[in-house]
Amino acid sequence: MALDNETVQTIARLARIKIDQSDVDKTRASLENILDLVAQMEAVDTSGIEPMTHPFDATMRLRADEVSESDQRDRFQAIAPSTERGLYLVPKVID
């Protein structure tokens, strides 16, 4: 499975991962190796087979609508990189 460097950069960008220009060939090669392994799947005819997203085809259990959580802001924000007046701070978001 051949990838081009542009595709590699597009995927990296989607995942918010930076790939230095000097590493892009190496990254591309290792991704291609994995895709070659995965390519064995192509040969199998799976028409009529339902995808299995959960082991044993489990079904959802729903919970009662109750407020069970209390305020833990101070505990949670003690481990945050940057907060002020109870808010998490990030570089300016531009809409």
């Binding site: 995942a15 918010r16 991704l31 895709l35 392994l37 064995q40 799947m41 199998v44 082991p55 945050a80």
Partner: protein
């Protein structure tokens, strides 16, 4: 030097021969003297406080079976107030503000957590070499020619847990298994490692790698210990929508049941090309041993098992790529020091915070899910998953347990495969199918290669039949002594 089992420790505590504080202190001392790099963090003070409290509870009549027994926890489980890194730089300074359900269950049974064990970063790896906190030395060091002074990997991703138990730094440890991460290191380190049915152990508080595959389990010297520890780990959890709501079971209850009439299935696909020939012989010998216990052996087929590895390397990275999006430097964990704007902050944080293997799998996953590729990759992999699962259903009409080698080859030298991800992935070729199907599976010590390296016998049983598997493993261990062998670099301690 001999191994010390949980069962022995429990008996000593019960008879008053030793206190929990004494036992815990003993193991903490061994950890200090070890150079295996098995632990990322050790919380001596907390462990001793818990030990003291366990001794008090016992004095007050509490008779929980593992009350006061110290164990090691894989550093993938959140424990309130303790550093929880998942083997990653991005969580290097993360102090969890809550406790995983599995650990909470163990604590409520009086089990003591001594520290957090080393692991492949986000459980992605089969050698423990992707850990940000460095590799782990396998306590089993070959003495054969050509191996002198060479470090072997303990397997992964639960490499630290495996090394800790194998080096006698802890009597038992927890692990997690997404594609073989309990069983493969158990095989490499001569341990009993059990991956229960998907949903047995709550995933709440266990940092997610691939949500539909991840499952916690025990890593111990014996099947009996695995049953004892598993008893404290499992249980329905309303906080996990995939948790199984099944009646509680005592996994030790049927350990000694007769194996008369047991039907063992050997999938021909697990004994083909790629399997180390010496290991093949060891496994065949081990399986033969069961005949003397009354079992019959027959060949079965899992015709789609060759598709497990490719399916897994789509499903697991796809789920992981999404699961790991929360590590963005906003609410906890590492944030890059310098950045020009929001996107730059995200990108630098994740690029500096994640290691190469994690980045590789995130990218594979993002690609497999991306527009135009979803059907060919993710959807196709989930369909193959059903075929693989159906193979097991079919095979289990002919046998009660499936056996084979846990790994195609024994522990290898550190650094020997880290440049070739795909050759590393092949380690899990026999273990992955059980994860895809959600079935209980385990690895038990089955003998040693001529170079003195452990070999694991792989067991797979039908859904929810952990007790049967432990019974089979226990009976085997009653007639063999592979599991009692002590690793060459184990730390003796006071025993």
């Amino acid at each position: 030097m001999t191994i010390t089992t949980l069962a022995t420790l429990a008996a000593d505590l019960d008879s008053g021969k030793r206190s929990s504080v004494e036992i815990t202190q003993d193991y903490l001392n061994r950890i200090k003297h070890s150079d295996h790099n098995a632990f990322i963090s050790v919380n001596e003070e907390l462990a001793l406080t818990q030990a003291k409290s366990a001794d008090e509870k016992r004095a007050n009549g509490d008779s929980s079976p593992l009350l006061g027994v110290p164990v090691a926890q894989k550093d993938i489980f959140c424990i309130d107030g303790t550093q929880t890194t998942c083997g990653s730089k991005i969580l290097e300074n993360f102090v969890a503000p809550y406790t995983a359900t599995v650990v909470g269950n163990m604590q409520s049974q009086g089990v003591i957590s001594m520290g957090k064990t080393n692991m492949d970063e986000f459980a992605m790896g089969s050698s423990n070499e992707t850990s940000y906190f460095g590799g782990v030395n396998n306590p089993w060091r070959s003495t054969a020619k050509g191996y002198e002074n060479k470090n072997l990997v303990p397997g992964g991703s639960s490499g630290g847990s495996a090394a800790a138990v194998s080096a006698l730094l802890a009597p038992a440890a927890t692990g997690t298994d997404t594609g073989g991460s309990i069983r493969q290191p158990a095989a490499f380190c001569n341990l009993t490692g059990i991956k229960p049915s998907y949903g047995r152990c709550s995933r709440y508080g266990m940092i997610a790698f691939a949500s539909s595959l991840d499952q916690a389990g025990p890593m111990t010297h014996t099947a009996e210990d695995a049953a004892l520890l598993l008893n404290t780990m499992v249980g329905f959890d309303a906080k996990d929508s995939t948790s199984l709501n099944v009646p509680a079971e005592d996994f030790t209850a049927s350990l000694n049941d007769s194996l008369e009439g047991l039907r063992i299935g050997l999938p021909k696909e697990f004994f083909g090309e790629g399997l180390d020939s010496e290991m093949a012989t060891i496994i065949e010998t081990a399986v033969k041993q069961f005949e003397s216990l009354g079992a019959t052996i027959k060949e079965v087929s899992l015709p789609n098992s060759h598709l497990a590895l490719p399916s897994y390397y789509v499903i697991a990275p796809a789920e992981a790529s999404s699961n790991l999006s929360r590590f963005d430097g906003v609410r906890y964990g590492f944030r890059a020091e310098e950045y020009s704007d929001l996107d730059d902050m995200y990108t630098k944080t994740r690029s500096e915070g994640f290691g190469d293997e994690v980045k590789r799998r995130i990218m594979i996953g993002a690609y497999a899910l991306s527009s135009g590729y979803y059907d060919a990759y993710y959807s196709q992999a989930q369909k193959l998953r059903r075929l693989i699962s159906n193979d097991f259903t079919c095979a289990f009409t002919e046998c009660d347990v499936i056996m084979g080698p846990t790994t195609p080859s024994p522990a290898f030298e550190a650094g020997s495969r880290s440049d070739d991800p795909v050759s590393m992935y092949l380690n899990d070729i026999y273990t992955i199918p059980a994860n895809l199907a959600g079935l209980p599976a385990g690895s038990i010590p089955a003998g040693f290669t001529s170079n003195g390296l452990p070999t694991g016998l792989h067991l797979i049983t039908p859904y929810l039949q952990e007790a049967k598997m432990l019974n089979i493993a226990h009976k085997f261990q009653q007639t063999t002594d592979w599991h009692t062998r002590v690793a060459p670099t184990a730390i003796g301690g006071s025993q």
